[in-house]
Symmetry: C2
């Protein structure tokens, strides 16, 4: 095979880079200030988890000064890393209450590491607890995350030595948070940190804050694209409602992105709410239907009826918006990506149908390479819709059946430039348009692009108000992606 | 974006090439002789479906001298091309009986072409019938296939003019079959044609033949990787059993390959059995359990109990072997492929679990780029297994549940060199091996490689005789794939 040598303007490093400078094109995503939730502290330290990293911080700590409710959602991959199983168990044992925070290391995923890996993950938790003077209780109070190489044990002593240093470096200003956001990175080309303020309608004079950091879409051979995120707020949320609120937000954010379709062994999104800004007398946010008279949870329902509480609705929006913006940053940093693509699918039927079609488009190699080639290839988009699970009939169902009453003749596909200029129709109700190639080329030159699909563009439809819409974000598939992921192991 | 220019030793043409020479490395797959089933004729002609093709035959005809049973399996994509819906309807109307053959054009897929497309597909069928002097019956007797550009109408007059020329060129020797196999190609780098003889145990003095041709894995912008296959035999099969026999064979062959995971709008495998070699008194092969006393089909069961008839078993094996070898040729011709990878997954549970894991590995961008990079990356293989549908729990099932009782600690992964040398264990019962890097490098230098996964490598297991095994074939993911599929539309 003839090896091809590519010289690329941005060479992505697979180990701690000599220079951690942020590419010029990405600097606009990195904030220089922030407004951080009260009662949380952030910090980092250098452990040198990877032997080649002699310089950069690779242990991060986010701490709540007072124990608080916490929850997390984890990868569904069957091979769950040790930090995932340890954290999951802690959350169950503590029923989402009384957490101190989270300790994270980069450089090693602590995945497929057996009993020793599990003990090491527990040791990280315990070391963090010891710093905050937590009583030596049965159940630790610190969640654990790791990202990096699979199949290697943590150099646990280095990490447990670094944790007190991270603790000593804790602080509440922007630089502290930025240090932590940087320390969790692997091959991200920029740290991903967002902070905002918000208010709740029932007492709008109180200013709350919410902050989040994430890392992902960076691939180190032989690692997965591990997605880690930590979100903190100083609002008050009932521990029993934390999981539902987080899942609701994750559905349309972290679970609506794809770089290359692989779900790692380590994915974790953790969420802390410490009530530090909550005035006296304000109740923690909760789903009221879930509570019996004595105030305890009636039943754990992952899909309760939507809340009618204006405070809850406002908080859900603040959390979802933050997580959405963090998730989009991951796509912006997709390996080798040259395009940021929003896929919007509308359906009369239900949101799952729309989402399945969106996922199928977003994970199609043919669509993604076409985008890289700036090709207005609606045929591939259509093809991807047509084989989406739950749309395409299975072998057990006779070919004429059509489980959701899909009508190819009602499918429309457009490109929407994100500069507000005119939509480019590619397929209108099943009929191909004569596409203005120059216009297509123009639209595809831009970094940002939106693909709009209507699965139920019925004649006589007056608008789309009654449709369900799924939004998904992805990037293109380039030569650089292959280079990065096909590289020899060093 | 900086455009990268690659000079590659094999430039794949997206239109009819100036030279149709077969690459040296692929010549071993192209037979110079063959043994073709009696009573079938093959031929081709030039229509010039693509304006740029002024030279090469692009219409193929496979005809049975006597009308015979036929069946086909089609793409499950919701956007079915006109030739697919027309052929499907013909097969239903004729109940798989009385077919003359198949007419194929390359250069245009006749997909997303509305009513005109459907009429054109019917016109192709009618034109072929007219040549064979078929009475102007209500129901045509010739199946139709197309492959090529999506969203454009066929230049139908050119095609209907070429069909009589193809008919006049029909013949039964190797060159005729090869001409047809060549005429259906799009961006394949070599024609794919296999022929064999076989016998049936109940009358082994009779020599039967079976021949098949296929095309696929060639991508023309903006086309899909359309898979077309035509299989013909001079054995006798009962029309009501044709579909079941074909599906059974397709399961472990054409439905067990992936180049890039996309299922096109045009995929079709057609099968004809004309009994031309069947001696007097020999009954057509059938699934006996399916027939009531009057000889008609009791019920259409796509998954009947396995046959106990030795003739049926022998034929099923001959068909499956042929289709498997054709399917592997498609993978051999995968765009930009440098590796031919066999994925073998064993499971105690059931074949679907094993197959889902195999598909997941075979369609993972991370695994495929690692293979291109010659990287013994078991971590990515494991990850792909871990998120396979039906193995990975869904959001509706609580995280601790495990629908199939999957035990990560019982998973083993090895690389098997195909030269018969020693297996390289990467993961043994959930524990990573210390991998001999030099040996890994050596194994990954070869073009052919086998990945062996055991999902139930329980301690104390003596062998694997009682396990289910799914076998899947795929290729790697290279820079050339991106180049081919990211190219500007011309």
């Amino acid at each position: 095979m003839k090896r091809v040598c590519l010289s690329l303007s941005q060479y992505r490093n697979y180990s701690a880079p000599a220079e951690r400078s942020i590419p010029a094109a990405k600097q606009k995503y990195v904030p220089t200030t922030g407004t951080y939730p009260k009662g949380f502290l952030a910090g980092s330290a250098h452990a040198g988890v990877k032997a080649s990293n002699t310089k950069y911080d690779d242990v991060a700590l986010i701490i709540s000064e007072k124990p608080c409710p916490a929850t997390a959602i984890f990868t569904r991959n069957l091979f769950k890393a040790a930090p995932v199983t340890v954290s999951r168990d802690l959350l169950e044992q503590r029923r989402s209450e009384g957490f101190r925070g989270v300790v994270v290391n980069s450089g090693c995923a602590n995945a497929v590491t057996g009993i020793e890996g599990r003990q090491n993950a527990q040791a990280m938790s315990t070391a963090a607890d010891a710093c905050s003077g937590a009583a030596a209780e049965c159940v630790p109070q610190t969640i654990v995350m790791s990202t990096g190489v699979i199949g290697q044990q943590l150099p646990i002593d280095k990490i447990t030595n670094a944790i007190p240093k991270a603790y000593a470096a804790l602080g509440s200003n922007h630089q502290h948070w930025m240090n932590a956001a940087q320390a969790i990175c692997t091959t991200d080309t920029f740290p991903k940190l967002i902070s905002r303020t918000f208010t709740l309608p029932s007492h709008p004079q109180t200013t709350y804050s919410i902050a989040g950091m994430t890392k992902g879409a960076g691939m180190i051979h032989p690692n997965m694209a591990t997605l880690l995120a930590i979100v903190c707020t100083d609002a008050a949320i009932h521990p029993d409602s934390m999981q539902t609120i987080l899942r609701e937000a994750a559905n349309t954010t972290f679970n609506s992105i794809s770089v290359d379709g692989d779900t790692s062994t380590n994915d974790t999104v953790a969420f802390f709410a410490n009530a530090a800004a909550t005035p006296e007398g304000v109740q923690p946010l909760a789903y009221p239907e879930m509570y019996s008279k004595n105030g305890r949870l009636k039943k754990k329902d992952l899909r309760p009826a939507p809340s009618t509480d204006p405070d809850h609705i406002a908080f859900q929006a603040a959390l979802t918006d933050l997580m959405r913006d963090l998730a989009k940053l991951i796509v912006r940093d997709g390996e080798g990506a040259t395009k940021f693509v929003t896929i919007r699918v509308r359906s009369d039927k239900n949101i799952m149908v729309a989402k399945r079609a969106a996922v199928s488009i977003a994970t199609s190699s043919l669509v993604k390479t076409a985008l890289y080639g700036k090709d207005a290839n609606w045929g591939r988009i259509l093809c991807a819709i047509g084989y989406a699970p739950m749309l395409m009939d299975s072998p057990e169902i006779p070919m004429r059946s059509n489980p959701i009453g899909f009508e190819p003749g009602n499918t429309s596909v457009s490109f929407l430039p994100t500069d507000g200029s005119e939509e480019l129709r590619l397929l209108v109700r099943g009929e191909p348009e004569k596409v203005d190639e120059a216009r297509a080329k123009q639209i595809l030159e831009a970094e940002d692009l939106e693909i709009l699909v209507n699965l139920d563009d019925r004649p006589g439809r007056m608008g789309d108000e009654d449709q369900r819409e799924a939004v998904f974000w992805t990037c293109d598939f380039s030569h650089e992606y292959v280079t990065i992921n096909g590289d020899y192991r060093t």
